[in-house]
Subunit: 181 residues, 2 copies
DNA sequence: TCGCTTATATATCTGTTAGGAATATCTAGC
DNA sequence: GCTAGATATTCCTAACAGATATATAAGCGA
């Protein structure tokens, strides 16, 4: 059986854009999907093997001696369609920042303020990056069919960051004005 | 290296509020931290055992025959402080919704619209819940030391949801107006 | 008040998943 | 040719979720 079907989806999806080596696939996932997805070698390779076994992926000699380029087969595309149509399963939430802030009484107010400032700065920086990417995307001529969908995911990042900045700002003002230590 | 157990932090933190059984701890984590954290029995029990071994937690007879109530020891509180002070390590992002939307070309526009509407509705519903909880929190008399920090985390949920709604709305308008199938 | 049923509480166990260190190989610059 | 860095792959270990097993309490009819 395949590893988690989520990894399968990401892998098939990546190959649906163009055939790649496993290494390139990982780079692509990190660079393109990086702000909302991640996969590591340990997942990608076994998944590719399983997919090859199932005939969803074809392996060809790669650019280097011992490397392989994987390409989607028709059945692989069908499989991708099926997976994408499955209900979204959200990952269990695990927000380390909020966990720390929740126990702020123990951590101390100053530390919390620091955390919040940090979070705000990081969100601001990210926001700048995303806006740059969006501008670049908007400027590209000859939109591919993927264009509107890439835009969606970028917009998600932007809204998220803006919310993050606004939240941190609000918290900072209330917490700074709070007399209790 | 450390995929350090964040579970330890959540467990110690929970016990820092009041002594509890493992079962109650899990309930508390689900109900109170639920919107940004999650733990399962499979992690909580072994973590408690390890903490007891290390002397960070004291086990006493619980409300039922075979049950134990765990309480934080001074060294446990110190340990919690240390853990909270460690740099925040964010979980790898895994957003199933965005992954699907990214491959929207394969999934089809109509399905994407559906996903977006769903996401918007869920975000709206959540927002209502959080706002209710915030109102309730604001109304409570005699603020505990934890009060301002609980408020922070609730606000985070609220900002997040608002951003989610705004994003989905924006995407829906652009995608609905898009002539390409 | 007894015995039966159901719900709740407690604990353990197991397969899956994840992440990244370790390893190997190649390419290019010096 | 030699070294640095990019490319490619394998593997191991710990975290993890969720199911399952077992015990206890509570409800309820007789």
């Amino acid at each position: 059986m395949a590893r988690s079907s989520q990894t399968e989806m990401a892998v098939l999806g990546g190959l649906s854009i163009e055939p790649m080596t496993a290494y390139a696939l990982r780079e692509a996932i990190r660079d393109v999907l990086g702000h909302f997805w991640s996969e590591s070698f340990g997942q990608i390779y076994p998944t590719l093997n399983a997919l090859e076994e199932a005939g969803h992926v074809r392996r060809e000699g790669g650019p280097r001696a011992r490397s392989s380029v994987y390409a989607l087969t028709p059945s692989g595309l069908a499989r991708l369609r099926d997976l994408l149509a499955e209900p979204v399963q959200e990952a269990q939430p695990r927000n380390g920042l909020l966990l720390r802030l929740f126990f702020g009484r123990v951590l101390g107010r100053d530390r919390c303020l620091e955390l919040l400032r940090d979070a705000r700065d990081r969100a601001r920086a990210q926001l700048g990056e995303y806006e740059g990417m969006l501008a670049q995307l908007t400027a590209t001529e000859g939109h591919t069919p993927d264009w509107p969908y890439m835009r969606l995911t970028l917009l998600a990042g932007i809204h998220q960051c803006r919310a993050g900045v606004a939240w941190a700002d609000e918290c900072l003002t209330t917490l700074e004005g709070d007399p209790t230590p």
